[in-house]
């Protein structure tokens, strides 16, 4: 008598059942490989519930069949497949209720097929479905109570409880696996995006004639731009947009980018490069995908640009207040190879001190069909930022679009090609804060040296510009956030430095040097500026800016 062996307040059998449920539930909960746990668990359950044999069936998602994933007993039926509708197991699953068959010979649903195959004689069955909410996962089935009796209502309740916790464990394990897979996919996408970003050209100093910006609507991008230095001092550049978005576009982009990088150095002119890329893409690219692309070459010495356009948005040439669309071009690449068999026509244009803007339709179509930006919109958005150094100008333009809530539906890429013959030797934008001053001085010194500024003059001019920047930080912005731009130009006669800020316009009359006999601190900076520089004047600021201060000094005059 067990009751004598284990005196307990609970009836002995119930205490055993609770032990079993607690034990198995704990096993299920901490299991990493739930099916392995089920295999071990089934032996345990069978022994404790005094069954002669047991099986666990799981629903196979692809086929909807119930498949035996674990079994215990004299015959091995693992792998046994039960198509929809057969036998007691399916009845339990379909009704989502525990089935107790005390005598199989009385039950018309009992299938004798398995017994016939295995030689096992099934007398009674207890089968509990495993389901969570509406999802059917499978069932646990016990055969023949040992000692010839039948399973009873208590057994039914115990198995029901075990099946419920097994089902929860199964769902948890599946969700964990799905989550891990999703995480792995995310990591791979992030990795792909990293590799793609690495394919874009490195950031160059703001005074470099060609700059670009690329914003991916998702992690990976179907856009690209590139700048390649050619042997003769010329610069080859390209912008392209692959049809479609996501991974397939990104892969075709990677291919197009590699082709450009390789061909730009070998072939003569952008037309030949586009024709060669077209031939390659048409031969190998997948159906329905194409690439719109502009390739070009800038001769920095003359400000001449040669362009070839394959189905891409017409670029904008901005010269002073004038904006021209450069509309010549061919259809996109990768559609019909014969189109480019005769090569791709080229357009030659002069920058004339201006800048050429190339962009993908992610820019012109920002904001959707109602408020599409269009080429005119791009031109209008460009105007308030034209005084900014190229990289900051691109960031400001793109940033403005994103800030205005125009959702990035597409990847957005923009390239600017400038005439560096007329460009300042230094053209940089800084945050107007004391921490920027050291960087400003460090950029200024080599720029002044490049212009041929006499060496004794350099530290004085650096001091004057530093002081003028301090005035912007302390007085124009009054300690608030803002930006300042420093442009340095010059020739053998005259050094010309311009400081542009975006603060409210200040009254120049209020800026006066202090009386030097009065040694109070303050006002000294303006005195430094006026003693070092020959000309100090506020000019009308460009559109979008707050103040423009011009500092000029005759070269070769030495210090005061």
């Amino acid at each position: 008598m067990r009751i004598l062996e284990r005196p307990n307040t609970l009836p002995a059998s119930l205490a055993d059942d609770l032990d079993l449920i607690a034990e198995m539930t704990a096993d299920f909960a901490r299991s990493l490989d739930i099916e392995e746990t089920l295999r071990i668990g089934i032996a345990h359950i069978s022994t404790r519930m005094e069954a002669e044999a047991a099986s666990i069936f799981l629903m196979e998602p692809e086929t909807g069949d119930l498949v035996c994933r674990a079994c215990w007993g004299p015959t091995d039926v693992s792998g046994l497949r039960l198509p929809k509708g057969q036998g007691i197991v399916w009845r339990a699953v379909n009704r989502n209720a525990t089935e107790l068959v005390k005598d199989t010979s009385d039950d018309p649903d009992f299938s004798h097929k398995v017994d016939a195959n295995t030689g096992f004689i099934t007398r009674s069955i207890l089968c509990a479905p495993m389901s969570v909410r509406d999802e059917r996962l499978g069932a646990i089935e016990l055969f023949n109570k040992k000692g010839g009796g039948s399973f009873d209502g208590d057994d039914r309740r115990v198995l029901q409880a075990l099946a419920a916790s097994a089902a929860l464990a199964l769902i948890n394990a599946r969700q964990a696996t799905a989550m891990a897979e999703q995480q792995a996919l995310k990591r791979e996408l992030a990795l792909a995006a990293d590799i793609q970003r690495a394919m874009l050209p490195p950031a160059r100093p703001p005074e470099f004639p060609i700059h670009g910006i690329n914003l991916a609507a998702r992690g990976v991008s179907g856009d690209f731009f590139d700048v390649v230095e050619l042997k003769d001092g010329k610069l080859a550049f390209a912008i392209a947009d692959v049809s479609g978005k996501g991974m397939n576009a990104a892969l075709l982009m990677a291919k197009t980018a590699s082709l450009f990088r390789c061909l730009a150095k070998r072939l003569d002119g952008p037309g030949a490069v586009l024709a060669a890329i077209d031939a390659e893409l048409a031969e190998t690219s997948s159906a329905g995908m194409f690439v719109t692309m502009i390739a070009g070459v800038l001769d920095p010495a003359t400000g001449t640009v040669t362009l070839a356009n394959a189905g891409h948005e017409p670029p904008l040439l901005c010269c002073g207040a004038k904006m021209d669309r450069i509309d010549d071009g061919m259809p996109p690449l990768g559609i019909v190879p014969e189109l480019f068999a005769q090569g791709c026509p080229e357009t030659t244009l002069q920058l004339n001190g201006g800048a050429l803007y190339l962009f993908t339709d992610g820019l012109t179509e920002a904001g959707g069909t109602d408020s599409m930006l269009g080429a005119d919109g791009v031109a209008a958005r460009l105007t308030p930022h034209r005084m900014r150094p190229a990289p900051d100008r691109l960031r400001a333009l793109v940033g403005g679009i994103v800030e205005d809530g125009m959702a990035l539906k597409d990847d957005l890429t923009m390239v600017v090609v400038e005439d560096c013959r007329t460009a300042p030797v230094m053209n940089r934008q800084y945050q107007a804060r004391p921490a920027s001053l050291a960087a400003i001085r460090r950029a200024l010194t080599p720029a002044l040296e490049r212009l041929g500024c006499p060496s004794q003059m350099v530290p004085d001019v650096v001091l004057a510009v530093d002081e003028a920047c301090q005035n912007i930080i302390r007085h124009a912005y009054g300690g608030g956030e803002g930006e300042l731009i420093i442009q340095v130009r010059g020739d053998s006669e005259m050094l010309d430095i311009r400081l542009i800020d975006f603060a409210p316009p200040i009254n120049p009359a209020m800026v006066c040097p202090r009386d030097l006999d009065d040694i109070r601190p303050g006002g000294l900076g303006t005195h430094f500026i006026r003693s070092v520089m020959d000309e100090v004047e506020f000019l009308a600021p460009p559109p979008g800016a707050g103040n423009l201060l011009r500092l000029a000094k005759r070269m070769g005059m030495g210090g005061p």
Binding site: R441, D460, L463, G522, S531
Partner: protein, 108 residues
């Protein structure tokens, strides 16, 4: 920029090095003014000042004025060429008490 203080013969030698600009002059000002409030004699070692702007000069001027009021010693010593150039531009080279070396400043 670095500020290092050491005591020699009852005076405090404050060695400034690096770039004394708007970013760093507030800490120079505080350091010197604390010494002024304690009425300590101070020699500022300016041998390693690579750069100084109007805000750095202003910190020195403020300490100098306080020292004069208190009748304590405040000497700029071993002034580097870039710092001297800025003092000259401000025409303060004739106002401050200067010494060629820290030792000379301590004996002044």
């Amino acid at each position: 920029m670095k500020i290092e203080s050491r005591e020699i013969d009852g005076a405090v030698v404050v060695a400034l090095s690096g770039e004394v600009d708007l970013q760093h002059s507030p800490s120079v000002r505080k350091h010197l003014m604390d010494l002024m409030f304690e009425r300590r004699p101070v020699v500022v070692d300016m041998a390693s000042v690579d750069y100084i702007d109007s805000s750095g000069i202003a910190s020195l001027v403020e300490a100098y004025q306080m020292a004069r009021k208190n009748g304590t010693r405040f000497i700029l010593a071993a002034i580097s060429a870039p710092a001297m150039r800025v003092l000259q531009l401000a025409r303060l080279d004739k106002v401050f008490a200067l010494a060629d070396t820290v030792e000379a400043g301590l004996q002044a």
